[in-house]
């Protein structure tokens, strides 16, 4: 998957757990908690969804690295490249 694919997938999952967010309005540097107002339960649901879709298990310590779509795309690219 290219970083662009991963970014799109991240936004898709984001809008699935938070259906009131329109992915088209999310900027690359929007912070999922500070700007998009996800709470800790939403973040956990997002991490679970990414785990299921990509097989990438994101430990709690790495949550800051998926805090924006830009960061998340880079992080997921690195993690999916591991295998």
């Amino acid at each position: 998957m290219t970083p662009e694919d991963l970014r799109r997938l991240f936004l898709e999952e984001l809008s699935r757990i938070a259906p009131d967010i329109d992915p088209a309005t999310v900027a690359d540097d929007d912070h999922i908690q500070d700007d998009l107002e996800l709470d800790s339960m939403d973040v956990l649901n997002l991490v679970s969804a990414l785990h299921e879709k990509l097989g990438v298990d994101i430990p709690e310590a790495d949550y800051p690295q998926i805090a924006t779509p830009r960061l998340a795309a880079a992080y997921l690219a690195a993690r999916t490249g591991e295998a």
């Binding site: 938070a18 107002e37 339960m41 709690e60």
Partner: protein
Amino acid sequence: MPSLGSDMESGRLVEWLVAPGDRVNRGDVIAVVETQKGAIEIESFDAGIVHELTAPMNEDLPVGTPLAVILAEGEEPPAGPTAPTATAEPAPETEPVAEPERPAPAVPVAASPPAQPDAIRPASPAARKRAGELGVDLTGVSGTGPGGAIVLADVERAAPTAPRPAPNPVEEMRKAIAAAMTRAKRTIPHYYLSETLDVDPAMRFLEERNADKPPTERVLLGALFVRATVLAAAKVKEMNGHYTEESGFAPSKEVNPGVAIALRGGGLVAPALADAVNMTLDETMSGMRDLVSRARAGRLRASEMTRGTITISSLGETGAEAMTGVIFPPQVALVGLGAPHLRPWIVDGAIVPRHVVTLTLSADHRVSDGRRAARFISEFETALKTPEAL
């Protein structure tokens, strides 16, 4: 149309999930109703076979309006034509011309009671004025006031001809919160006790516990708070139940913790878990995840909106350090939890950095006094000190 809260007056039926002939059990989701608090799934009160769906779709229906006829095993359908008896407000005669895009109601609308064309219809001055503004002919309006007098609400009901703008969900939610919170502050003599708690042991416990768990099995601090609240509420009964003007305080045998969930774009709902005392920490956590997901998707159930016996409102991981909350009537207590903050703390005589959380219990002075609130907080604190036992 069930009441989904003491301030709900009406709801709008937007979807049937059953059809005549379907078998339903008590508690099955049978319809979706749009309320000020969003779309809520309505559960059946009875078991049996759906005989007829009687309520019209997409109209505001007062609480108490029959929605469907469910026949028990072996029960005969009601005799005679199955048009609904006019138990609720009969629809005004002007109705059929309204909103042409609406599909014809499946059931003929009950005719208004015969008008008395030659009698002068009694009507309140406000109703006459509003009728003038809306162009409503009072002879076609049935009155619900004293002696059948037409009151303001009757006129407003009779004037749906100009399609009202679709209610703005955010504004509707605001109104629902305003009504509930105003009522709380007007009728509940709140008092408050606070305590700052060292949550480092709880956070360390979760860190270790979650480290080797896949995301679906991780537990958040909020779930520990709910468990601690449930255990404390089970011991201090004056914090767990409902208070009504008519019958005073009724303690609840079950502890059904309502979890306040902030919605993006504004507003807040507090759906409740059921009978949480015997749940494990994992079950509590997965119940909360489910509530949050469905709150976001607008798929909460009616029972979840009304069964809460105490509410927990937590500011999450970042934010202000304390919150003094407003009790959600008819409940009698609310646990407000600030976000964890790193602070100098004294442990065994030494000053050490610790994550602390300020708990503020809002309680109802009609039901309890400070001593009981202090006991509740002490039970909460004890529970949180041994998170592995939660």
